[in-house]
Structures are given as C-alpha cells and as structure tokens.
Amino acid sequence: MKKYLFLSIASLFLASAAFAADSQIWDAMRIQNIYGYGQVESLGLGPLFTMLQANYFAQIFLAVLIGVPAVFLLHYLVIGPKVFSHDGKKIYAFSIFNRIVHQVAAISFIVLIPTGFIMTFGSYFGGGEFVRMMKDLHGIATISFGIVVIPMFLMWIKDMLPNFDDIKWMMIVGGYLSKEKKPVPAGKFNAGQKSWYWIATLGGMVMILTGATMYFLDFDIEMVRSMTGLSQIDLLRVAAILHAFFGMLVVALFFTHVYMAVFAIKGAIHSIITGYKEEEEVEILHSSWYKKLKKEGKI
C-alpha cells in the first residue's frame, strides 16, 4: 500500500516538474511590490543565485578574509617590507583635494567592508537588531562613498590609463617578490594601483547601484529595466550576484592596498596624509614618473 502510494505520488511529482517547466506558474506579477516577477522569458537566475549564495559566496568571502592577509603575512615574513629613506627630498604627489576625496572614500571603506562581512556572516552574530544596524550603516557609508567616487574617478583617470609599463610591471609583479631596490617600470601609479583604482571606482559604482537595487527592492529603475529587458526579480538576482562578485574583488584589493600602504612600503601611508612622497620611493617604484618629472625639471 505504502509502496503504491509512494509510486503514485512520485509520478505526480514528475508531472509537476513538467508542469513547472511549462512555466505558467512563473508568469505575471507574483507579488505586490515586485513587478514582472518571474516572467516566462526570465533568465531563471533563481536557482543560480540560490546555488551560489547557499554554497559559495560566504565561503569565498571567508577565503578572501583569511587568505589574502595570510599571503601578505607570508610575504612580510619572507621578503619583508621595502624601506625607503624618509630623510631625502619629498615629491608633491597628492593635492589637498585628492587627499580629502581619498580619505572620505577610505573611511567609507573602513565602514563598508566590516559591515559587509558582518552581513555575510550574519548568522554568527545572531542576526537581528545588531546586523540590521550594520546593514543600515552599510547603506549610510555607501552615501559618502557615492559622493566621492565620481570626483575620484575623474581626478586620477589620466594617470590611470594603462600603458606598456603596466605589462612590464605585471611581469615582475611590481618587484615585490625580491628584496632588491631596482627601479620598477611604472608611472605615477603602477599597474597594481591602477587595477585597484578601476575596481574601486567602476566596481564601486556597480556595487552602489546593485546595492541600492537590493536595499530598496522596488527601487524605481525603470530605465535599467527597459535598457536590459530584465524583469525586476531577475534584476535583483543579477544585482545580488554582481554585488557579491565585485565585493570579493574589492575586498581582496582593499586588503592589498592597505598592506602596501601600511606594511609593504614602510611609511608610504604618509603620502596620502601629507601629499608628499619620498623621492627614493618614487625613483624606485615609479621610475617612469620619476624620469618624466626629472625631464620636466620638476625635481
């Protein structure tokens, strides 16, 4: 009897799979405040998102959180920091405007990244009020980052355009794998900094947009919808996937950036506080720029 029941039910389920594939159930506006829920032509991102979020996102974030610092710790111990003379001449690298913009972004990141991690691992914090607060804080910090991201993008874009030095720089991984102080081919910004710039600005903007989409859920993004042809629920799913993906990149590069500024190059952090870089540091790490400055007689 039981077996019969089991079989008949199983056949029902098979039929149900066919029914679902017919995807009539996916039609029309499913919920009040989300329009175009799961239209027939929807991308079917639900399963993809579920699979990624359930099995990979948190793990990858954890890997980034532990892995990146671990690599740097190893680097610090094996190769050690680069130390440049702080007594020599200084080169004016960052205007006051540059510095303010950078600092605002920096503070935003200092808030955004931990709050983001707290949300990702919300269950370990027990969810509820605390994590909700972190979520709101994440949103608030986005506002300050949103204010400076475009000035930041514009003020450095000229120096951030890729060139041949970048390929050379990449080949030797910026010279960070050796203890030698050999001039490294790089302009005002090296390829590493450039990648960080592009990820932080363009990626940051993507994160702001995707974040806002998720934050407000029924955020009116008619334009994006009509441009992409995505239903709102798919847009939300794309947003969630993109947000996580760029989040990983940003976090990894942010850690790198901090490591470079604070540990890898001793005292390099001062340049963004005072605006002046050590001449020796520029000569070695930004040799092309150094040469250019020299040629222009600015040093």
Binding site: K2, L5, F6, S8, I9, A10, L12, F13, A15, S16, A17, F19, A20, Q24, I25, W26, D27, A28, M29, R30, I31, Q32, N33, I34, Y37, G38, L45, G46, P47, F49, T50, M51, Q53, A54, A58, M119, T120, F121, G122, S123, F125, G126, G127, G128, E129, V131, R132, K135, D136, G139, M214, Y215, F216, L217, I233, L236, R237, A240
Partner: protein, 202 residues
Amino acid sequence: MSNNEMARMKFYCDDQRCIECNGCSVACAEAHELPTGVSRRKVITLNEGVEGKEFSTSVACMHCTDAPCEQVCPVDCFYIREDGIVLHDKDVCIGCGYCLYACPFGAPQFPRDGAFGTKGAMDKCTMCAGGPLETNSAHERELYGQNRIAEGKVPMCAAMCSTKALIVGSADEVAKIYRTRIAAKGKGVQSAPYGWSKAYSN
C-alpha cells in the same frame, strides 16, 4: 523522496476550480491583519480573456522541502518544523531580501517600514502557524498573525476558499483529494501539484 517527506504539510491549488475570487488572499490579510502592500497570498490569472487558456491559481509560500530561502538566508532566520512548515524569526531577519531572490514563488514580502524607506523584516505565509514566540501570545499575533495550527484549526486561506480549490494538509492526504477529483472527472491527469518536490530540482 523519503516517506517522511509525504508527511509534510502542503498547499495545493486546483486551477480547475480557482476562479480568482481573491477570498484566500483577503481572508489571509484579514486574519493576520497585514499591512496593505503585503500579500502573503496572491491569486494570479494567466492568459486573461484568451478563450480556453485562461486560468487562475493562488500562490503563497509553498513550504518547500528544500526551502531555498532557508539555504540563502545570511542570518539563518528560517527554521523548518517537523511537519514541514517553513517559518522564520522576524527578530533575527535583517530584511536583506535574499530569500526573495531565491524563492521561485515570490512568497517573501517586505513591508516598507524600515529606516530610510527600506524594507523591514520579511513577512510571509506561515501556514497560520505563527512564529517562534510564545504560542498564541499577543506578541506572536502582532508579528506573525494568528497561530491557527496551534488551535487545531485549518489555515485561513484554504478554509475560506470559496470553491475549495485551495486545499492544505499533509501531503499524502492532499494528494488523495487531488486524485479523487481527477478520477471524478474521468479525464486523467491534466496537471499536478506543483512546487511540492524540490523548489529547484537539479
């Protein structure tokens, strides 16, 4: 599929009977005194006005066996009762919306009551089983609505369905009713309970 799975509580809406009277959705909203804009249950009509193709069905949380919402929730606010009812803890929920992205039925609802116009804690069909607070306490009723299951009563939507299209109960019993109806018609299987097996079969 284990036998255990059949002893789960399930919804089934018979689209041969559903006439989009919205009795279920209003009964639900009324029973749980939901804010407007939140519909735990919604009736949808497809191909409206197209002769021979129009049909309606009532959708809410299907209390999936492999509940995707439970899988993706970053704060693990979901819990699945022994009888298969998928519930969540509003005090833990942070209103991130991930459950909504994962859900194939659009069940999770977000009232606009958070700060800065954001969505508050998620709200969804509880199969009238309340939440993790003290059973039938005023607090539970305020957050999750009635706990009719604890009172030994049928969930409101199915009980008030005008044509008895929407039925609820343990899966094998609902399947029995479903088969009885199909048999009465003598027309063989036309469609079957959807959403009962894995939400995303892979």
